[in-house]
Each structure stands twice: as C-alpha cells, then as structure tokens.
C-alpha cells in the first residue's frame, strides 16, 4: 500500500514536471536573425541578370514567453540586354513590427506564434521592346506602397546559450492595402509621335487564410 502511494506520487511529480519545465527564453534576452542572397547570371553576350537581397530580424523578450520583433528587408534586381532595348531595375524595402508568443513543449523544444504589421515600398523601372515598331520601346516607372497585417508560427529549439533554431510551419494572411502608381512613354507609335500613359491603382484585401510552408531560421542570442 505504501509503495503504491509512493509510485503515485512519483507519477504525479513527473506529470507536473512536464507542465512546469524551465523557460527557454528569459525577459531581457534579445536575438538577431537574417538572410543574405546574391545571384548573378549571364546569357552569352546578350543578357545580364543580377539579384540580391538582405534581411535582418531583431527580437527582444519582454517576458519569458513574449517577444517584440522588428525586421527589415531590402532587395534589388537588374536585368539588361546588350542591345539596350531591354532594361529592368527593381528595388524594394520593407519594415515589419510584431509580437511573438512562446510556449515550451518539453526540454529545449517549444512552439511560437505571432502577428506582425508591415509597410513596404517597391520601385521598378523598365524598358521593353514595343512590338508594333521595329525601333520602338516602352519606358515605364512603377511604384507601390503597401501595408500588410499577417501572422505565423512554428517550432523553436534552443540549442545552447547563444544559438536557437526556428522552424516556420504556418503563415497567416490577414489583411493588406496597397496603392500603386506608374507612368511611362512609348518613343514611337504608328502615328509617328511619342505617347505617354499613366496608371493608378488602389487595392484592398481582407481574406484571412492560413497556409503551410516550412522554413528554418537561425537566431543568435544576445544578452
């Protein structure tokens, strides 16, 4: 009877221990994460292609299971042909601010989820051949400003004092609004005079959906 009671106690303590594991992160800790990409390709002598981007993420734990996040992303791309009739330059920058919530499952493994709001700006300058004329081309400058609200979540693994891994599993698209404006000109038209055009567009979306994707992130933890 006595040993039975003991066994029960031990079993109960193990159960309890599982629900009160040590926190993975502590208030005041902060982390850095990021991405870097560069790509250069050449198609013979005729076409050059270049893309690069850099992303930087920063987070600070305001309690053992809540973090404030801030991330910035800058991207640049360029495609040009030696004939001069094709030229495409694009530039984009985005800034995101959010909040993430953490829960330890057991040991060093936990889950996290959060929301973020962001603003991004894109610019694209293009010069493309105008098919109706042999020496004709269209030049166009386009801009877009967008505000978005989204979320996501996944798994987090604290490897040691300095490093942690995140495995993103879920993306949440909640809402976005954008405004874009573009103008441009055609150098030659059938009537022989250049023509110009401009476009304006406002777009809104509130269509909450969850999508699934997997990506691994690495975090360097600062004290």
């Amino acid at each position: 009877m006595k040993s039975n009671m003991k066994l029960l106690y031990i079993f109960a303590i193990i159960l309890l221990a599982n629900t009160y594991v040590k926190a993975q992160f502590n208030a005041g800790e902060s982390y850095l994460g990021g991405s870097l990409m560069m790509n250069q390709s050449k198609f013979g002598e005729s076409l050059d292609n270049h893309n690069s981007s850099i992303g930087l993420g920063y987070g600070k734990f305001i309690s053992k299971n809540t973090a404030k996040t801030l991330s910035i992303y800058v991207g640049y791309g360029n495609q040009s042909s030696s004939s001069g009739f094709l030229d495409d330059k694009s530039f984009g920058i985005s800034l995101n601010k959010g909040r993430q919530y953490y829960k330890t499952i057991f040991g060093k493994l936990g889950i996290y989820g959060g929301f973020s709001g962001g603003i991004n700006y894109n610019n694209q300058d293009t010069k493309t051949p105008y098919n109706q004329e042999p020496m004709g081309y269209v030049e166009r400058t386009a801009n877009q400003i967008a505000l978005s609200f989204d979320g996501g979540g996944g798994l987090v693994y604290r490897l040691n004092n300095k490093w942690a891994f995140t495995g993103n599993l879920i993306n949440l698209d909640i809402a976005d609004v954008s405004y874009s404006w573009a103008d441009g000109k055609r150098n030659l038209t059938q009537s022989g005079v250049p023509s110009s055009f401009s476009e304006k567009r406002f777009e809104y979306n509130f269509k909450p959906t969850i999508s699934f994707s997997f990506g691994i992130g690495i975090r360097y933890i600062l004290k």
Partner: protein, 211 residues
C-alpha cells in the same frame, strides 16, 4: 491520511480540467461568422489617340453566418445564412458609356459538425454541409440575369479557443459537389462540378462564440 491524499486529488482535478470540454457538451450552442472583402480601383490615362482616362473598379464581399446546437457525441447541427456581392464598374471620360454590374447572392444551408477535442482549447472537426444560393443581377445591362446554385461539401478544420468562449476556426474543403445554373433572358448555362482536394495548403478563417 487525508492530508496525503489531498495534493493528489488537487492534482487529478488540475489534470482533468486541462482536458475539459464543456464547449462540446449536449445543449451547448455556438455561432460563427466568416467575412471576406477584397477589391481594387484603377485609373488609366493615355495621351493618344487623344487624352483619355478610363476608371474601373472591382469589389467582392461575402459574409456567412452559422449557428449550431450540440447533441450527443460532440455532434453539432445547425444552419447558415450567407450574402455575397460582386460589383464591377467602369467608365471613360471621352464617351457616355458607363457600365455598372452588380450580382447579389443570398445563400441558406444546413450543416452537421463532428468534433474531436484534443485539449481544453483545441479540437478538430469534420463537417457535412449543404446549401442553396440565388443570385440576381442589377446594373446598366438591360438583360435580366438569374443564378441558381446547390452545393454539398465535406469540410475539415480545427477550432481553437482564444478565451473561454471565443474561438477561431480554420477550415478547408475536401470534397465539393456543386450545381450551378445561370439564366440570361432565354439563354441557359448549366455547370455541374465535382472537386476533391486532397492536398490542404490553406485554410479559411472564421471567428465565433459558444454559449
């Protein structure tokens, strides 16, 4: 002896409450709402053949309201009401041509949900749903357009309680059988469609409350 048993009893109680599922008991009710709003406004200006501007817009909105009551075995039965608006407009400043097209659709249906609670706050469910819809056209076109639709769906999803009674649902359709007919004057267009999606890559979201 009792003082030794007390912590154990307290613990048992704590464990049980972790798996409580009062929200799925017989007689418990819930409502939920799903809405989507999207659209765009565009304006294009050209200098040739003479300066002109064309404005256009597209707007789509839908709102679905569901209500259900739980019976035995985590089974809930209920009804739904929906409204959908599709609007397209366009106009140009060099002619008097203007087009405004609106299709208003109302939907009503019946559904059965079978829940499997996984924890206090999370459950998965399967759903059988049947609904009928009627759409009517209004706008600048002279022809009368009427749309009729019947849908049968097998859906799966999850329910997560954010607070005691407030939940969000994520849901996707696995099998969808639909009948659709559009009557434009004397012309009739009919479509029957069976669609089965066995690869879930996204879920639509709704929020709701149980009481």
């Amino acid at each position: 002896m009792l003082s030794k048993k007390l912590p154990l009893l307290v613990m048992m109680f704590v464990m049980i409450s972790f798996l409580s599922k009062a929200q799925y008991e017989k007689g418990s009710k819930f409502w939920q709402v799903e809405g989507t709003f999207s659209g765009n406004f565009t304006s294009n200006t050209n200098s040739t053949p003479f300066p002109n501007t064309t404005d256009a817009s597209t707007n789509n909105s839908s709102l679905t309201f569901k209500r259900a009551v739980f019976g035995e075995n985590n089974l809930a039965k209920g009804w739904l009401l929906g409204y959908k608006l599709e609007a397209n407009t366009s106009s140009t400043d060099y002619s008097l041509d203007k087009s405004n097209n609106y299709i208003h659709t109302i939907q009503a249906g019946y559904f059965v949900d079978k829940f499997k609670p996984l924890s206090k706050s999370l459950a998965i469910y399967g759903e059988l749903l049947a609904k009928a819809g009627y759409g009517i056209y209004s706008g600048t076109s002279n022809s009368s357009i009427n749309q009729y639709s019947l849908d049968a769906n097998l859906n799966v999803g999850f329910r997560y309680y954010l607070k005691k009674n407030l939940f969000i649902n994520g849901q996707t359709s696995l099998v969808n059988l639909s009948f659709y007919q559009q009557r434009t004057g004397n012309y009739k267009y009919t479509n029957v469609n069976l669609n089965s999606i066995m690869n879930v890559s996204s879920l639509s979201i709704s929020i709701g409350k149980s009481f």
